[in-house]
Amino acid sequence: MSAEKEIWVFAEQENGQLAGVVYELLTRGRMLAEKSGFTLCAVLTSADGKPMHQELFNYGAKKIYNVEDDRLETYQNDYFAKVVHELIEKEKPEIVLYGATTIGRSLAPTVAVMGWAGLTADCTELDFDTERQILLQTRPAFGGNIMATIICPDHRPQMATVRPNVFKKERVGENETGEIVDARVDLSGVKERMKRVESVIEEVNTVDLKAADYIVSGGRGLGKSENFKIIEALANALGGAVGASRATVDAGWISHHHQVGQTGKTVCPLVYIACGISGAIQHLAGMQSADLIIAINKDPDAPIFDVADFGLIGDLHRIVPELTKQINELKG
């Protein structure tokens, strides 16, 4: 067991590429480490970890548990769960965070039951209660109609998954350093019960909603498919990306890659502009944590205004082109 109390971030990788959510978890982990006095560590399970170490240090890991094995090159639940479980048993971390990705949402629940750990899925807020020395894990439930703060008072580690883009990422520096622990886990006894025979990436022309600073989203208020043109024009003027509500995706006005919300993407831009979107709870679930929210809607009672910093009440067909025009003038 390590002498200091630790917070771990599972450093999800695929073919030597760290998942974006890892940087976000490390950034949040730093805040938790500061409040708790625990040490922030990354757990890296891969075939060859070295190329990824610098980035993990740059985002604030003080220690990396580096486990290398050819069987860890791509994700396989049995292998990964065994490795993470054994490390946890040995080092006894206080907190373990995972991305709520396909991988994290298979791995974390398996690891939770291998030990007797508490696990809270899809947290939108993580904080540390210094008095009780426990992790406060807040998440939406019942489709976002309520928020619940979950704690794990008696069992360790306290584990949580967080969806990508819920937290901001922030680098500490360029040449940060830390400790690398070469951890070994023997996988030779693990029977291969499943084998990945194919892996296909479909999202090629990825609409980069995740990286965009500005997102302009259109809803049913646009009225018809062609009107997405005015959304695109505003997004272009801002150098941002185009988002959409599910109603417009279901209507076939735009591809589902643009959908923001519970069953679409979670986004966290500097500015989110919702045009003709009513603000159903499922939509809010995907964009509520944007730094600044602007809503344009003709209905002053639309729920989108509950989460907006600025609300423009009126006809989007007049307001959106006007906004594009004035921004273009500004940029000259």
Partner: protein, 261 residues
């Protein structure tokens, strides 16, 4: 082919709201339904049975009224149902639920080939029970399955990922969680609907499952709800109305003040 589908009865979450004064759930009058994703798991099981024969058993843990969900599943074509219900199971989180369901699986007659779950339950949205049960029961787990074909030694499964899909070969017995895109649940038949009303549904409690009592219900649950509250709303919002040219001008001024433009 012996298939077990775990189904959960949930309140129709679209209709659950929170009282902003008391921070309590308004659940009165909210209808209970089969968790929508579990319908996809059930349909996957029924299709495999159509092709390969065998039996589909539905399993649910919950209060006595969860029996309704099981009868509904029978009317859609499941062959047998078991309800896991006991006051002492109450208050279980996903850890304790997984443990309890795995005991029930061990108690079912005959070897099981495949265990199916919904992708997640819409009340908690945790997606943890499937992987949890798979581990306790000791079978490999593939999450987010869109299709499943029978192969010589097990199954070939298409798994939806964040950016596309994976194809896995998994040996049997195996467990899968099933996504919405997999299929749509068939309509109940009139004959089955009538039969389902009369079907015997055994109820298994602590006395039958003989669990380690430290591992069930509230006691066996590592996580506790500390507080529930209404989603926050913005307090300092500014609403602008008037001529588009004017309100846009004002907005741009404020955005520049905040240095986001």
């Amino acid at each position: 082919m012996n298939i077990v589908v775990c189904i959960k009865q949930v309140p129709d979450s679209d209709k659950v709201t929170i009282d902003r004064e008391t921070n309590r759930l308004n659940r009165a009058g909210v209808p209970s339904i089969i968790n929508p994703f579990d319908e996809n798991a059930l349909e996957m099981a029924l299709q495999l049975k159509d092709q390969h024969g065998g039996k589909v058993t539905v399993l649910s843990m919950g209060p006595p009224q969860a029996e309704e969900a099981l009868r509904t599943a029978l009317s859609h074509g499941a062959d047998e149902a078991v309800l896991i219900s006991d006051r002492r199971f109450g208050g279980a989180d996903t850890w304790a639920t997984s443990y309890t369901l795995s005991l029930a699986l061990k108690k079912l007659a005959g070897p099981i080939d495949l265990i199916l779950f919904g992708k997640q339950a819409i009340d908690g949205d945790t997606a943890q029970v499937g992987p949890g049960v798979a581990h306790f029961y000791g079978v490999p787990m593939i999450t987010y399955a869109k299709s499943c074909e029978v192969t010589a030694g097990g199954f070939r499964v298409q798994q939806v990922t964040d950016h596309g899909y994976n194809v896995w070969d998994v040996e049997k017995p195996a467990a899968l969680t099933v996504v919405k895109e997999a299929n749509e649940l068939r309509m109940p038949s009139l004959k089955k609907k009538l039969a389902s009303k009369k079907a015997e549904i055994p109820v298994w409690g602590v006395d039958i499952l003989q669990p380690d009592e430290d591992k069930i219900g509230l006691n066996g649950s590592p996580t506790k709800v500390n507080r529930i509250f209404a989603p926050p709303t913005k307090v300092n919002k500014e609403l602008l109305s008037g001529e588009p040219a004017d309100i846009v001008k004002e907005l741009i001024f404020k955005l520049r003040e905040r240095k986001v433009l």
